[in-house]
């Protein structure tokens, strides 16, 4: 199969402003993006970065305020029908459908929306149920599914029309570690089964982006801050030294360390104002070079904090993000639950 020559996704100067009161919100502020057919592309950004807004524009749910967006050459503003026929979307926490239907019935209903014949629909539904691993739940009511099973059903729904572009908006949101892993596995299996399938995945779990995506754009406040393969992105911070410290009684937070000589950034994995129950926090340090560590250790000592463990580490995407944005993912108050840490282990 030869891949099409047009980009799977292409945006030019894409801006989206929500007319809210008292003042409008600029959710996307000039996004230029090109995703090739067959690519697994990730949008990584904190809450409110504009990820969902971009997905909504690409899935024809929302119009750009200015700029253009195309999916396989079709314009999102004018050629909505065409785009809807070749793509699909699954979002984390999706609760679509009708609780009283059984899984099979629910999926069959959706199959009709994509023009599958009656019998063809049932057949495809049964095959997909097996492929996503819901055999035992096939005759169970949708309302009785667990969150993980629910998300598998959503995937089966999203694959009914075998999309050429599959949009995944935080697909593992709210799933436990093992359910999230099986969802990621499912995505990859489907993607790898045939060349030419394109995926655009948004996430704020760095490990997830790193594990799945061939290329990643780091977004914040509606802008792309950096774009590249995970390795390329990590090379950006290679020249610096990165340390992870387990620190007890870090009462004044990581902020106090930021001004020290040689410290590029200092951030904690959990929100600095609410220490973990046992008081030990993980401190991520990016330093100009190794020698700056001495100053940090001294400063921690004088603050009354105690270093429990210290190790030098390979740069992660989080370090890239911290360097680009000047703050950690979870340090804006609206932070996540530290799930990415669980994913990383």
């Amino acid at each position: 199969m030869s891949l099409p020559s047009v980009p799977a996704i292409e945006t030019r100067g894409l801006r989206r402003v929500y007319k809210t009161k008292p003042k409008p919100i600029v959710a996307l502020d000039g996004i230029d993006l090109e995703v090739a057919p067959g690519e697994f592309f990730g949008l990584l950004g904190p809450n409110g970065a504009g990820k969902t807004t971009l997905i909504k524009i690409l899935t024809t749910l929302l119009l750009p305020t200015t700029g253009t967006a195309r999916v396989f050459g079709f314009d999102v503003a004018r050629e909505t029908r065409q785009i809807r026929r070749l793509m699909n979307i699954v979002a984390g926490g999706e609760q679509s459908g009708y609780g009283l239907l059984q899984v099979r019935e629910q999926l069959w209903m959706f199959s009709q929306f994509y023009g599958l014949g009656t019998r063809e629909g049932w057949q495809r539904v049964d095959e997909l149920i097996e492929a996503v691993g819901l055999d035992e739940q096939r005759n169970q009511k949708v309302s009785s599914l667990s969150t993980g099973q629910r998300q598998k059903m959503n995937f089966a729904r999203g694959l009914l029309n075998d999309p050429w572009v599959f949009f995944l908006d935080e697909p593992t949101l709210g799933l436990d570690v093992s359910a999230a892993r099986s969802v990621r596995e499912l995505v990859r299996t489907w993607k790898d089964a045939l060349p030419g399938r394109t995926i655009l995945l948004t996430t704020h779990y760095m490990a997830e982006a790193e594990e799945l995506c061939e290329r990643i754009a780091i977004v914040d406040h509606g802008r792309i801050l950096a774009i590249g393969t995970p390795d390329e992105l990590k090379h950006r911070v290679q020249s610096e030294s990165i340390f992870r410290l387990e620190v007890d009684r870090l009462e004044r937070g990581a902020g106090a360390l930021a001004g020290l000589p040689g410290v590029v950034s200092a951030s904690t994995a959990t929100d600095g104002t609410t220490p973990a129950p046992d008081g030990v926090q993980t401190l991520n340090l990016i330093l100009d070079n190794d020698t700056a560590l001495g100053g940090v250790v001294t400063a921690l000592g004088s603050m009354g904090a105690q270093i429990v463990a210290l190790r030098k580490s390979e740069p992660s995407l989080e370090d890239v993000f911290v360097e680009l944005v000047g703050r950690g993912f979870d340090e804006d108050g609206a932070g996540s639950n530290g799930h990415h840490e669980a994913v990383a282990r």
């Binding site: 199969m1 099409p4 799977a8 929500y18 007319k19 057919p37 807004t53 909504k56 899935t59 024809t60 749910l61 929302l62 119009l63 396989f72 079709f74 029908r81 065409q82 785009i83 809807r84 026929r85 070749l86 793509m87 699909n88 979307i89 999706e94 609760q95 679509s96 459908g97 009708y98 009283l100 239907l101 019935e105 629910q106 069959w108 209903m109 959706f110 199959s111 009709q112 929306f113 994509y114 023009g115 599958l116 009656t118 495809r124 095959e127 997909l128 097996e130 492929a131 029309n161 075998d162 050429w164 572009v165 299996t189 489907w190 089964a193 045939l194 030419g196």
Partner: protein, 292 residues
């Protein structure tokens, strides 16, 4: 995983290119697709059906007793039974259809429907079809039980016309339901309150429990605007020909034409509103969003 390795289309361009026929077929399929959960629900939750049959039947019975006590002409009993049967549809339209899109939005379904290749009109038609079939069952029970218990005798000559009027009443009524559903989605809670306010007067003006012709000018107004009023009047004329109670209203043929016009109007209005809803949603980023 063999199914994953089997592509459904050879290229994205092929996937995006549908013939007009395929688009139409898909829209028709999705009408039945959306009606499906409603029908499954009917079979799976029979307790709803019980109440939805019982309530109209009780109202009908109350009016039967009143008319009997007043020594009203025998045809009045038949009128009331017919009206009681049609109440099942009316309740379904106002209470189920009206809130449907709202619920769909709340469940996140509406947004998902917008991402599929179909016209939302198919979804709305599917809801109407599901509700209509479900309500037919109830209406049938009320009609049958009412007829047997209260000894109603029908004198139908023009069966075909009666059937046509019945079907047209339903298309007009459910067309109205589709408009209602779109209005509720557009205007939200205010529309709900307005509907509740109008519920009783409209109920009354539709003449479910008495011939609307008795209302004079008001009745004429009702016949020219309310699908249930005109449909019921025509059906009563056809089911009890020669009765005095429908005297003064237009002939059933004219009323049937009126129903056709209403159906067209409501369907076009619903389509227009759905388009507006989608346009607004894409511009403003709300309406079809969950929980706002």
């Amino acid at each position: 995983m063999t199914i994953f390795a089997r592509p459904r289309t050879a290229s994205p361009m092929e996937a995006a290119r549908w013939s007009p026929r395929r688009q139409l077929a898909t829209n028709l399929r999705s009408v039945f697709g959306r009606a499906y959960p409603r029908l499954i629900g009917l079979a799976r939750e029979p307790s709803w059906t019980f109440f939805e049959v019982l309530l109209p039947f009780l109202t009908t019975s109350a009016f039967v007793f009143v008319y009997r006590a007043l020594d009203a002409p025998a045809e009045y009993i038949g009128f009331v039974v017919l009206g009681g049967a049609m109440t099942a549809f009316w309740i379904n339209v106002v209470w189920m259809m009206g809130a449907q899109l709202w619920w769909e939005k709340d469940a996140g379904n509406l947004e998902l429907y917008f991402t599929t290749p179909i016209d939302l009109m198919s979804v709305l038609l599917g809801m109407a079809l599901g509700g209509l079939v479900a309500s037919c069952l109830r209406a049938g029970v009320v009609l049958l039980v009412g007829t047997v218990v209260y000894g109603v005798s029908f004198g139908v000559d023009q069966w075909v016309l009666l059937l046509a009027v019945f079907v047209l009443t339903l298309t007009a009524l459910y067309g109205f339901g589709m408009v209602l559903a779109s209005l509720f989605l557009l205007w939200g809670r205010e529309a709900f309150h307005l509907a509740q306010l109008l519920q009783e007067p409209v109920y009354f003006l539709s003449g479910l429990n008495f011939p609307v012709a008795r209302l004079g000018m008001l009745g004429a107004l009702a016949i020219s605007t309310l699908p249930l009023a005109v449909g019921l009047d025509a059906m009563r004329q056809l089911a009890f020909p020669g009765g005095v109670a429908t005297y003064g209203t237009p002939s059933p043929e004219i009323e049937a034409a009126l129903l056709v016009a209403m159906t067209c109007f409501f369907l076009l209005a619903a389509r227009f509103m759905l388009r507006t809803i989608e346009r607004m949603a894409r511009h403003e980023g709300r309406l079809t969003t969950r929980g706002d």
